[in-house]
């Protein structure tokens, strides 16, 4: 785990930092600060659900702005290493990693789907690979999420 690249100042008293980090007192263990489960019981489906905050976050006190009951009353000012495209909670369903080498770009998108996540890899050659597609449902929620991310990339 590497240190976040963010370098920002957040004024008190409205902001509260939350993070998970290797414990400086015992690096083989973790320390979590000001956070807990960020998924609800109804979202639990047999696998460990996707955490909503990632490795670190700055929570900003606001009234009932977040639809996630575990985080209600807070909005997320910053995301994680896998930073979401927007700070809106609804957009945390897709995270993106970009890397580049010699002008060529590899993009990896991780889409939150039921039972885990779908991974869309866009290679510099133009080829793409989709790993896992979630589960079928009455409203095709997972398929629509993946299609939305894929269509945004052309």
């Amino acid at each position: 785990m590497r240190s976040p690249s963010v370098n920002r100042v957040f004024p008190q008293p409205r902001h509260l930092p939350a993070l998970v980090y290797p414990n400086p007192m015992q690096p083989t263990r973790y320390v979590v600060m000001n956070s807990g489960f960020t998924f609800t019981e109804s979202e639990y489906n047999g696998d460990y659900s996707m955490p909503r905050l990632g490795d670190y976050a700055v929570l900003k006190s606001r009234r009932m702005t977040c639809r996630n009951p575990q985080l209600q009353g807070y909005s997320m000012n910053r995301g994680s290493f896998l930073r979401s495209p927007n700070d809106d909670d609804s957009d945390l369903r897709a995270a993106r990693i970009r890397g580049s080498c010699a002008g060529e770009r590899l993009e990896i998108y991780w889409v939150d789907t039921e039972g885990g996540g779908a991974t869309l890899i866009l290679a510099p050659s133009g080829r793409s690979l989709l790993i896992d597609t979630g589960n079928p449902g009455p409203d095709d929620r997972d398929a629509k999420r993946i299609a939305a991310v894929a269509s945004r990339q052309g």
């Binding site: 240190s3 370098n7 008190q12 939350a18 980090y21 979590v32 600060m33 985080l71």
Partner: protein
């Protein structure tokens, strides 16, 4: 994976409002702990920061609530975490 949760207070918070805000998060963490009991059949320990010993770090991942003024372990780790607290603001780097 074993967690040890520190939810009590060692001293006054370093910044106004921190105690209220972390208490709200801590309450939600309490909800999460109930959720953990029901789903995972696990019973995480909750203790005060002053009850924690260095040996506990060998055995547990720890969940800390508060800031350097209100939680002695956050104060001790603060210089080694990727975050700095300054008077009137949190500085994240």
């Amino acid at each position: 994976m074993r967690f040890l949760i520190l939810s009590c207070w060692y001293g006054p918070p370093a910044f106004p409002g921190t105690k209220l805000r972390t208490n709200r998060l801590s309450e939600r963490s309490g909800d999460s702990i109930d959720c953990m009991r029901r789903i995972f059949a696990r019973n995480p320990r909750q203790i005060a920061d002053k009850e924690l010993t260095q040996a506990d770090f060998q055995k547990y991942n720890v969940v800390l609530f508060g800031d350097p003024g209100s939680n002695v372990w956050i104060a001790r780790m603060a210089s080694k975490l990727p975050i700095r607290w300054y008077e009137g603001c949190d500085h994240h780097r």
